[in-house]
């Protein structure tokens, strides 16, 4: 059972692209903590100095559009951000986030209601998002069954190891 996630919301608009999540000049960095120092820098240079570990990025539709750089979700995770809630995610970012273990939630309802600074608590298992500041509760869309089975198995790595064992 995944632990609940808790922190304050930082709200952004639609089409937050990977170029602003982690600008190209940092894409030769592999170290997670170092990448984390530059999370969201292209859009909000103060993000990493303002945020506290556990905080949540809340954004409109098509979060993570653009390049396939896996360092984008890695940088967000490395910054100490606990989750991203958006109305929708771009395809490659969605896969990458799940693969590297960054919790993401699709919830138009939460995005419309939450304001920057609201304190949120998320139960990943049920996709329940509680707004402690406004005393409201929202629901995130369930993952498709195949994605949920990958998440339950602990991500893509155990899946690959099992497939390798089957093939051996």
């Amino acid at each position: 059972m995944q632990a609940s996630l808790r922190g304050h919301a930082h709200k952004y608009g639609k089409n937050v692209d990977t170029d602003v999540i982690i600008p190209g000049k940092y894409c030769n960095i592999i170290d997670i903590a170092e990448l984390g120092k530059h999370a969201m820098e292209g859009l909000d240079p103060e993000y990493t100095s303002r945020m506290k570990p556990g905080d949540v990025i809340v954004a409109d539709s098509n979060f993570g559009c653009g390049s396939s750089r896996e360092v984008a979700p890695i940088a967000i995770k490395g910054s100490g951000t606990s989750a991203v809630i958006a109305k929708s995610f771009a395809r490659i970012f969605y896969r990458n986030a799940l693969n590297i273990g960054l919790p993401i939630f699709e919830s138009p309802e939460a995005v419309d209601a939450v304001e920057s600074g609201d304190e949120l608590e998320i139960e990943p298992a049920g996709g329940v998002i509680r707004n402690l500041t406004k005393n409201e509760t929202y629901t995130a869309a369930a993952f498709p069954p195949f994605m949920q089975s990958l998440i339950d198995a602990g991500g893509l790595q155990p899946y690959v190891e099992r497939r390798l064992a089957e093939k051996a």
């Binding site: 089409n15 692209d17 170029d19 602003v20 600008p23 190209g24 000049k25 894409c27 030769n28 960095i29 592999i30 292209g42 859009l43 240079p45 539709s61 098509n62 559009c65 653009g66 390049s67 396939s68 750089r69 896996e70 360092v71 890695i74 929708s88 771009a90 395809r91 490659i92 896969r95 990458n96 693969n99 590297i100 498709p144 195949f146 893509l156 790595q157 899946y159 690959v160 190891e161 497939r163 390798l164 064992a165 093939k167 051996a168």
Partner: protein, 427 residues
């Protein structure tokens, strides 16, 4: 069951008779691509996987050093070396270092590594470029690429397809880039998310292979999983000149189901420009040039427009002239082969004489990596594919996307200029 082109290719690679949108499949891959950025992360992931000591097939992996090369600093050199060492350790057949490769998406087709009906995944979002050859090709992140390295298969959700039907003959100074910018503007940057784009119509039948490459390349700019053309005689001629490998030319069934069909008439299309800061902020050139938009840099190159056909267009416009004294023009031939051909044809000499700098092939300037990075307050018109905030450097810079012809004419005047205006060219 009738199937689209994408569905047919995916069904065959999953050994299924039929597939439908939304279905999850496990598909065999014909080629896995990575560059030094995606490979550096993927190799790290692979090292952590139990039992994953070797890649599935040393001949079905392509590794291309292209983003931060020649290394811009010690950190870039470190990741370039990491991939090179891996290529040697795994005895990877298709490894391309500086001087023998170039931009991955320019190099792979040139080297005969892409053929119709194949399934290709790559650690770069512009992997969708290979749809130009009737292949299913899509970009993925490094963990998925690590899985493909060792398994030779990937899980995929079958995308619903959008059929784009183009008609009409492109007018003067209207190119594939203009057609695709118009398409991205029409669909929007998330208009094809999780979807396959299938290109149809008399206009695209007449396009060159390079033109189709430009269009397939930017499918991701509408959020698409892949963008695909049917292979025809031109495709087959291009591919068989470069490989003797067998391949299967698939065709969409006449009664295949499409989520949407969109007809786009090109007959009256003007040259198009994507204005800051999204690739779908597309306007006709006559609208854009109503204001005087001065530029500091013109960039010619990238996996979208770094081909010999593109450089010839630019050289023809700049031949015997000088670029405006207030700006710089940076040209990146897409690959070593393009560079050599351009040199042989005298294209590079004409560009240099006009005042352009000709760089080594690579991705650097396009993504704000190096060799053409923009500063605060600078404005660039570029043949590349993205213009998000900070894409080419400073978040306070502006990037306009256009065809090589529009960029070349703008280089002569120093401002965004309609390539159809004769006066601009002869000024």
């Amino acid at each position: 069951m009738p199937m689209t082109l994408t569905e047919k290719i995916l069904a065959r690679h999953a050994a299924l008779d039929a597939v439908e949108p939304g279905q999850i499949i496990n598909a065999k891959v014909d080629l896995v691509l990575a560059n030094e950025l995606s490979a550096a992360v993927a190799i790290g992931v692979m090292r952590q996987m139990k039992g994953a000591d070797r890649v599935f097939d040393r001949e079905k992996i392509a590794l291309v050093e292209d983003h931060f090369v020649p290394a811009k600093d010690a950190q870039s050199a470190k990741i370039a070396k990491l991939m090179k060492d891996f290529a040697i350790e795994q005895n990877i057949k298709h490894f391309f270092d500086v001087g023998r490769g170039g931009i991955e998406h320019v190099v792979l087709p040139e080297e005969g590594l892409v053929a119709p009906g194949e399934l290709i995944v790559g650690g770069d979002s512009h992997t969708c470029t290979y749809g130009a050859f009737g292949a299913f090709a899509t970009g993925m992140g490094s963990t998925d690429i690590a899985a493909a390295f060792v398994l030779g298969e990937v899980w995929l959700k079958i995308p619903a397809s959008i059929k784009l039907i183009y008609s009409g003959k492109p007018g003067e100074m209207v190119f594939a880039k203009d057609i695709m910018l118009k398409t991205v503007g029409t669909l929007g940057i998330d208009g094809a998310t999780y979807r396959a784009i299938e290109y149809h119509g008399t206009t695209v039948d007449e396009l060159s292979i390079t033109g189709r490459i430009t269009m397939a390349n930017m499918a991701i700019e509408a959020g698409a999983k892949n963008g695909i053309f049917h292979a025809d005689a031109k495709t087959i001629a291009y591919v068989t000149e470069r490989t003797d490998r067998d391949f299967i030319v698939e065709k969409a069934d006449p009664d295949a189901r499409y989520e949407r069909k969109i007809e786009i008439d090109i007959g009256s299309l003007e040259p198009q420009v994507a204005c800051p800061h999204t690739p779908d902020n597309v306007h006709s050139i006559s609208e854009v040039t109503r204001d005087e938009i001065l530029v500091d840099q013109v960039f010619i190159g990238s996996c979208t427009n770094g081909y010999i056909e593109d450089l010839r267009i630019v050289a023809k416009i700049l031949d015997g002239k000088k670029i405006d004294s207030r700006l710089r023009v940076i040209v990146n031939p897409g690959s070593q082969k393009v560079w050599m051909q351009a040199a042989e044809e005298g294209v590079l000499g004409k560009l240099a004489a006009a005042g352009c700098v000709v760089n080594t092939p690579g991705c650097g300037a396009c993504f704000g990596g190096h060799m053409g990075t923009l500063g605060d307050g600078e404005r660039c018109i570029s043949t590349t594919n993205r213009n998000y905030v900070g894409r080419m450097g400073s978040p306070k810079a502006e990037v306009y996307l256009a065809s090589p012809a529009t960029c070349a004419v703008s280089a002569l005047t120093g401002r965004i200029t309609d390539p159809r205006v004769e006066a601009a060219v002869t000024a």
